[in-house]
Symmetry: C2
Subunit: 211 residues, 2 copies
């Protein structure tokens, strides 16, 4: 699984060859480094151009402004070859997913948290972030489909997205908004709670309509 | 002559409703108005002083910087006479709580969202926000105690805070981080899912230890 916060790893998503692709990779690496070091407030077109070793007119022409850089770095995170976990059980899958989320949020400095902070201040970054999250939750719907196929969940029309949000939201809430100390049991506990709620029919469309 | 707004000096007008309290109320009203209109990036000591009709040296002396203003406006939110809902059932209480949260997050402009955005950029505001949230969740633990007393939840040592976070986190996640369109059913659905999980023992300390 590719860790979008690992700036040193070879990036499999980088198209081989092509000067444009190489320039983009250098510029986005520079954006990630500047963001994690000093947050979006320290992000400038000039700083990124200098760090990337790319002429600043190129950076202005291609990305226009800091919002354009932020949006592109978020879009690039969505282009990596990420796959949802496949552990053999819904609880195991959601726990593994939550562990990944927790790791990305507790690492200091956190690229993920810097992006969330930035998206409060750039409409373009906010839209890119919303797209990325929508993609990731859509990719994870397979976890719920597999659980239904294995008979772990009733085959009633489960609202996969609501289940996934119930499982993952406590991580973001505790770590990003409440700024709690990381609890190593939280990924598993939040996953287990969502699975218990799902097994009791909490995310079944039919149940909601009948109440 | 000493500054009548200097809170460090013991003065007869420090009583609630006195001149010092009135100055604080005017300044914090101005902070709230500036924050909701233009976000924390538009917040300046001068802008607040002008809007409040208070001399700027007073604002600097009492609050030092923008972080001080933000922290005090958050502390003031914690001083209001807020009471958790009491509807007669845990599901009803959590739904009412979520409805309150949803309203505060979807109103445009949202003071609550502006504070969250600001707390990414001011350590002082972040600490005040963490304190406020800790207080609110502590106040809400009575909802879980009442539910246990009514026999709605098993009397095993329920982790009230985890239950409350499971119930409320999806609201913040959907509306603040994912920027989803408000779903009028979400407050009730998130509350119902948390209650089902709780009834299945998801937040019982004993269950966690035995697994």
């Amino acid at each position: 699984m590719t860790d979008p916060t690992d700036l040193t790893a070879p990036r499999p998503d980088r198209r081989p060859g092509g000067r444009t692709a190489r320039v983009r990779a250098r510029v986005l690496d520079a954006v990630r480094a500047e963001l994690t070091e000093s947050g979006h407030e320290g992000l400038t077109m000039e700083g990124v151009a200098t760090r990337a070793g790319v002429h600043r007119t190129t950076v202005y022409r291609r990305w226009r402004d800091v919002g354009g850089l932020l949006a592109d770095v978020i879009d690039a995170a969505g282009e990596t070859d990420w796959r949802p976990p496949d552990t053999g059980s819904l609880r195991g899958d959601l726990t593994a997913l939550n562990q990944e989320i927790q790791e990305s949020l507790v690492v200091r400095p956190s690229f993920a948290v810097a992006l969330m902070a930035a998206s409060f201040h750039s409409e373009q970054a906010a839209r890119a972030q919303t797209r990325l999250w929508a993609d990731r939750y859509a990719q994870c719907e397979v976890l719920v489909e597999r659980a239904v196929a294995r008979g772990e969940l009733p085959a009633r029309d489960a609202d996969a997205r609501s289940l996934l949000i119930a499982a993952t939201a406590p991580l973001y809430h505790q770590l990003v908004l409440l700024r709690a100390d990381p609890d190593p049991r939280l990924p598993e506990r939040a996953a287990a709670a969502a699975v218990l709620a799902a097994a009791a029919g909490a995310f079944s469309g039919r149940r909601e309509e009948s109440t």
